[in-house]
Symmetry: C2
Subunit: 237 residues, 2 copies
């Protein structure tokens, strides 16, 4: 937690109040906050401030804003990921948000177990988005979309995301072309499930405008493939 | 698991035998192997082969090697990480191995809880190395070293790792210089604990030859910082 994210309603008066049990516990256990300390605070979907702690009680921490701070920019990327198993999903959402993904799309694929779509975590995405924003020091949630059917997504939605200067790359271990690096334009990146997309899916993605690209001859887990790809594509920016 | 890693002793005769319960269970549950299927197999610290399954029983799977395959190259990087909490450590070891880190060094730092050095996972590193190699399709374990004292490591060991064409970069959110990208030389990368190195530690690292570099203005978790940095540094190779 590198900033504390507040709801706009908590910042209406001159004195702001942290009342979330999770945030208060974190600040007391990991940061050991004291009156007079400064604290970075973001207003959800709004600005970010350096604040001063003016009161601490068991159930609330009171703050006074000192000065506005800049918010990190998003990466110009739409990340499209085959829904991973629930345990991985939580970390994946947090990491994608922390890394600054502008839009996240979760899709079905042949090797995605249908039970994954029933996980309660999908009802709690907002919580993991909050954790990711607090880690990054960001205040703006990325757009998140879910598509439970691969073919309609690939044929109807995906083509609307692709343009000449906005290509879509699907990571595929056996592609001959390599994933580009240090690009200076927006793009979509598609990451398959553990075990990969099946040939029919790769073919349909390519038919609908995707470029199949290889990340090299090491096969990465979904969770590590995402930061690896984003570092490779946008590390120069 | 993209290859099955065998001990050289299991590959002495013309017929090779998988006898590990973990490997057999994985192959039967996730891959649904059948007699006649091909299977990628690596010999620990040795070659990698495409093999054919010739017999399956409850406690063993028998193979016949068909042809040798190439092994992915290591990245020319020494990754130095402040020991993370045990749960993170396991994934970090696996990911560092999968990504192809040539040498991994775990060090102490002020913000590393001393209890982390007592975790049983540190006695099981070899298991997580095996999982990382099987994911990557690699057979060679990276060198792993542990240093429980920050100052002697930084003053006595670290300078021996640094040369003109082999710099050491320490990721530091407040550094003015940016982490380079797409480099064509070896290097060491140093990743601090959650909460970061303390100023004394950053100063000592710099005094001993490190360059403090920023990864941008998003603060990443250790686990996602590692693949992000490696994608950024070596994504072009």
């Amino acid at each position: 937690m590198n900033i504390v994210l507040l709801d706009p309603r908590q910042t209406q008066s001159d004195i702001w109040t942290i009342s979330s049990k999770r945030q208060i516990e974190h600040l007391q256990t990991h940061v050991d906050v004291k009156i007079g300390d400064t604290l970075r605070v973001g207003i959800r979907e709004g600005k970010r401030y350096l604040t001063e702690i003016i009161d601490i009680s068991e159930n609330s921490i009171q703050l006074r804003p000192l000065k506005e701070e800049s918010i990190p920019k998003k990466l110009p990327v739409t990340l499209i990921v085959a829904l991973p198993r629930p345990k991985v999903l939580r970390r994946l959402i947090m990491d994608a948000v922390t890394l600054g993904v502008d839009k996240l799309i979760l899709i079905h694929s042949y090797r995605v177990d249908k039970s994954y779509w029933q996980t309660p975590f999908l009802q709690q995405l907002d919580h993991y988005v909050t954790l990711g924003l607090e880690q990054a020091g960001d205040t703006f949630a990325p757009k998140i979309e879910l598509y439970k059917r691969f073919k309609p997504f690939t044929e109807d939605i995906l083509p609307t995301l692709i343009a000449e200067k906005n290509p879509a790359y699907v990571a595929h271990p056996y592609a001959e072309q390599k994933m580009p690096f240090a690009i200076d334009h927006p793009c979509s990146v598609i990451i398959g499930p553990e075990g990969g997309f099946i040939p029919y899916e790769i073919d349909l993605l390519i038919k609908n405008g995707c470029q199949a690209v290889s990340l090299g001859n090491r096969i990465l887990r979904t969770e590590s493939a995402i930061p690896y790809v984003l570092g490779r594509l946008f590390g120069a920016t």
